[in-house]
């Protein structure tokens, strides 16, 4: 029990610090992409040491904490307060089953780098909690009693429900090959063969990547907030600590998505030639595995941020079309492909990895081209027949 409590404390500390610094990184990346320098002034408090702006999260945090806890008069108070709490709680609880390393060898056995080791439905647990997170958004939007917030909440609930389907289809392929719902088993299986799932199931990877971006409501899928049209969407009416809760929950969702992408498709803590693959390890290897995992996470998060400044936001009908007409069929195709591979070429991954990779990539390209031609992501903004009202 003490072991679990220590793990929880450590995890929350690390994750919340990571959130704070990812906020800084987001601002930095935004600045770099726009040819600016970004926040670089705040360093150690009370000194003139700047440290490339590393003190900025601290300053932001102090500012937000000291802000007035203002509740507008027109809101539904109970739900207004409940919404940010529920979204932050569910976002944090997700990390109970996510391994943030491999194992730590001790004198008698080893310690798992996961808060709830042996939880046998880890993948579905992550899903369940992302389903709970929808409540925070939809309740916040409704309780705010504001049209923009309400629109944001409705958009987000539709979006999150729609993208949960391709997300689960992407995961199903992994479950099929790993034969387990446990995240550590998935990593162990990839480490064993040395073939990351991204190479075995490239189509699943693409589907999952897109769906995870949408689930984390990152651009180009940030319709729930959409500053330009909805002034911030569901959190328009929030300020101070409650806004911090929403913002950190958003970043936690992004980190969760990055963790899932890395663990499910990019081999988790495994890297060829550095980390080994077994359970008989020294503490050096254990540390290396943690570092490899965190390096991968940072890379994926950085990728999210780059995509944010690259792609414009989808329109809502395009968003739904992408989910139902493109991602859903692609996910189905991936599931069938993986099932066929598992059934007929079960040993191929270990024996002929290159061939599996090439065949699967080829099939991915074919299916993407076919889907793109059959269900183009165009708009329905066509000219109406003359004599009829333009729609």
């Amino acid at each position: 029990m003490w072991e679990a409590l220590i793990k929880i404390g450590l995890l929350i500390f690390v994750i919340m610090t990571a959130v704070a610094y990812f906020v800084l990184l987001e601002r930095k990346v935004a600045a770099w992409v726009q040819d600016r320098k970004g926040p670089n002034r705040v360093g150690l408090p009370l000194t003139k040491i700047r440290l490339f702006g590393m003190g900025q999260p601290l300053a932001d945090g102090v500012k937000m904490v000291l802000k007035e806890e203002y509740i507008p008069g027109h809101v539904d108070k109970a739900l207004y307060v409940l919404a940010p709490i529920s979204i932050l709680a569910s976002a944090l609880a997700t990390f109970a089953v996510i391994p943030f390393g491999s194992i730590w060898p001790t004198a008698d056995g080893y310690i798992d780098f996961v808060v709830a080791p042996g939880f046998d439905a880890g993948l579905i647990y992550v899903f369940a909690l992302s389903g709970i997170a929808v409540y925070g958004v939809i309740l916040g939007g409704w309780a705010s009693n504001n049209k923009y917030s309400f629109l944001g909440g409705l958009r987000s609930s539709a979006q999150l429900i729609a993208y949960e389907i391709p997300l689960s289809l992407g995961i199903l392929g992994i479950v099929l090959t790993a034969g387990s719902l446990r995240l550590d088993t998935v990593i162990a299986q990839q480490a064993e063969t040395g073939m990351w799932n991204a190479f075995v199931q490239p189509l699943g990877f693409v589907v999952f990547l897109v769906a995870a971006t949408a689930e984390a409501a990152r651009l180009p899928f940030d319709l729930p907030e959409a500053e330009q049209e909805l002034i911030g969407g569901f959190h328009t009416e929030y300020s101070g600590m409650k806004l911090v809760m929403y913002a950190s929950a958003e970043f936690l969702h992004m980190i969760t998505a990055a963790f899932l992408i890395v663990i499910l498709f990019l081999g988790g803590w495994h890297f060829w030639g550095i980390t080994g693959s077994g359970t008989e390890i020294t503490w050096v290897t254990a540390l290396l595995r943690v570092l490899v995992l965190f390096a991968k996470i940072c890379l994926v998060v950085f990728g999210f941020m780059m995509v944010r400044w690259t792609l414009p936001r989808f329109r809502f009908d395009q968003l739904m079309a992408l989910a139902w007409k493109v991602m859903l069929p692609l996910g189905m195709v991936n599931l069938v492909l993986v099932a066929a591979m598992v059934e007929y070429f079960n040993n191929a991954v270990a024996e002929k990895p290159l061939m599996v990779f090439l065949v699967m990539t080829g099939l991915m390209l074919v299916s993407i081209v076919v889907t793109a031609v059959l269900a183009p992501l165009g708009s329905r903004n066509e000219r109406s027949p003359v004599g009829d009202l333009p729609t």
Binding site: A31, W32, V307, T310, N381
Partner: protein, 188 residues
């Protein structure tokens, strides 16, 4: 208005090519652009650490100055054209009879409220004798509102301060037109 009205110009969306339909090539293209900018030259000036470079002081609109003529007198003839042109009504002139022979009036007092000013340069445009000009001084600060109301002496002292770096614009433009050489930048 009917849909087939000849005044309506119907614009059809351009058809997407295969790359557009596939979406992925365009994402790669966009990512290449952003990655280039990621490592490109930054345009930010770390202001107190490094001063911004003003490319062309002739067209920069900073703090005002009142020009002096060759004898060191204020050039202004108190014609009120600048005060009339000013959209922010920040120029306040009290004209009186001139002690000199070459003009009838001169400003007894000439104040500009630098906080009201919007730095549009209309006064500069309006002045018939090129007496008021906008310099390239940008770091205008003060501790009180009163301090930010510049009187005649203050405006003349701005001229004394900047006349070497920025000669009077009328002369500069005349010279540059005569030489057909572009004006040199880099003040302050």
């Amino acid at each position: 208005m009917k849909p087939d009205d000849p005044d309506i110009l119907w614009v059809d969306e351009p058809k997407l090519g295969l790359a557009g339909k596939l979406y992925l090539p365009l994402i790669a293209q966009g990512l290449t652009t952003t990655t280039k900018h990621l490592f490109g030259k930054k345009v930010t000036v770390s202001y107190p650490d490094s001063e911004p470079e003003i490319a062309n002081p002739l067209i920069y609109r900073g703090v005002h100055r009142l020009n002096r003529d060759e004898q060191g007198r204020v050039k202004c003839v108190a014609c009120f054209l600048c005060a009339t042109a000013c959209p922010a009504h920040c120029i306040d002139i009290i004209g009186t009879e001139s002690p000199w022979e070459d003009r009838e009036k001169y400003p007894e007092s000439f104040t500009i409220d630098e906080l009201r000013c919007i730095y549009c340069g209309m006064c500069e445009e309006a002045c018939p004798v090129d007496a008021i000009e906008l310099t390239s001084l940008y770091n205008l600060t003060g501790r009180s509102r009163e301090e930010m109301v510049f009187d005649k002496e203050k405006l003349l002292s701005v001229f004394d301060q900047t006349k070497d770096a920025e000669p009077m614009k009328s002369q500069t433009v005349a010279n540059s037109l005569a030489d057909t050489t572009p004006p040199k930048g880099g003040a302050s």
